[in-house]
Amino acid sequence: MGTLTIGCFPGLVGSMAYDFSLKLAEAAVDKGHKVNIWFSGNATGSVKANQKHLKDYSTGEKYIKTLLEKGVEICTCEACTVARGVKKDEGIEGVQWNAMHWYLAKIHGSDRVLQIGGE
C-alpha cells in the first residue's frame, strides 16, 4: 500500500475538481492506501463548519467528515483560511490548520502526488 497526497486549490463547485479530489481520496483510502489532502486558495473556504446541504448546491462538509473518519489527514492553509474570515473555531473539527510546509512535508513521504490547480 502506498501514500497519496492531493493538493486541492479550486473552490467548492459542483461536480468539478474539488469533488474529484474528495472522491479520489475516498477510493484510495478504501483500497488501504494512506491519503493526505492539502487545501489552499479558494478550496480553504470549504473547511467552514455548518454547511447547509441543499440539493442544488455542492457542499464539502459531509464528505470531509467521512474522509476524516476513514483516517485521511486533511489540512487547510491557515493564512488562506483566515483571509476568508474563517477562524479555527468556526472550522470543521478534525481538519488540521498549518502553513504550506505541511504540504511539502507530506509530499516528502508520499509515493504519488496530485497537485490540482485552478481557482
Binding site: 486549490f9 502553513a99 504550506m100 510546509h101 505541511w102 504540504y103 512535508a105 516528502h108 497537485q115 481557482e119
Partner: protein, 136 residues
C-alpha cells in the same frame, strides 16, 4: 529518505488568479519544512514557468499600490533570496516577445541567484529528475 526533488511547473500567467502565485509561495516554504521532517530529510523544489506561465514577471509592478497585495516581482525576489532555482522557458519568452531584460533580479538585496532563462529541454530535465511534478 534524504532529499526529495520536486518540479513545480507553472503554465498560467501570474495574474491569472491565486493559484499561479501560490505556486511561488509554496516553493518558498521549502526553507521551513525541516521542522516537520526527520533529521537529514530535505525537499528541493525547482520553480519552472512555461507556456503562458512566463507572463507577468516584468519589473516595476504596481500590485501593492493598486491592489494592496504583494507583487509577483516581490515574490520572485524572495525566491532568489532563499536560493530557489527559478527557470523560465526560453522558447515561450520568445513566443510572447518578452526580453530577458525585463526580468527582476534581487542583486541589491544580496541574492546570489538569478532567474535562469533556459530551453524547454532543461525544464523537461527537472521534471524527469524530480520525484514528483506539481502543475499549477
Amino acid at each position: 529518505m534524504g532529499d526529495v526533488k520536486l518540479s513545480f511547473v507553472v503554465h498560467k500567467p501570474q495574474y491569472k488568479g491565486e493559484t499561479s502565485r501560490l505556486a511561488i509561495t509554496h516553493a518558498i516554504a521549502y526553507q521551513t519544512v525541516e521542522i516537520l521532517l526527520d533529521d537529514g530529510d530535505t525537499v528541493t523544489p525547482t520553480l519552472c514557468f512555461i507556456g503562458e506561465g512566463v507572463l507577468g514577471f516584468d519589473k516595476d509592478q504596481k500590485a501593492m499600490d493598486l491592489y494592496g497585495i504583494t507583487s509577483t516581482e516581490a515574490h520572485l525576489k524572495n525566491c532568489l533570496l532563499v536560493d530557489l532555482n527559478v527557470m523560465m522557458c526560453k522558447e515561450d519568452m520568445e513566443k510572447y516577445g518578452i526580453s530577458e531584460d525585463v526580468l527582476p533580479d534581487a542583486d541589491e538585496m544580496g541574492a546570489d541567484m538569478k532567474v535562469q532563462v533556459v530551453p524547454y529541454a532543461e525544464i523537461e530535465k527537472t521534471m524527469e529528475e524530480a520525484q514528483h511534478v506539481l502543475f499549477f
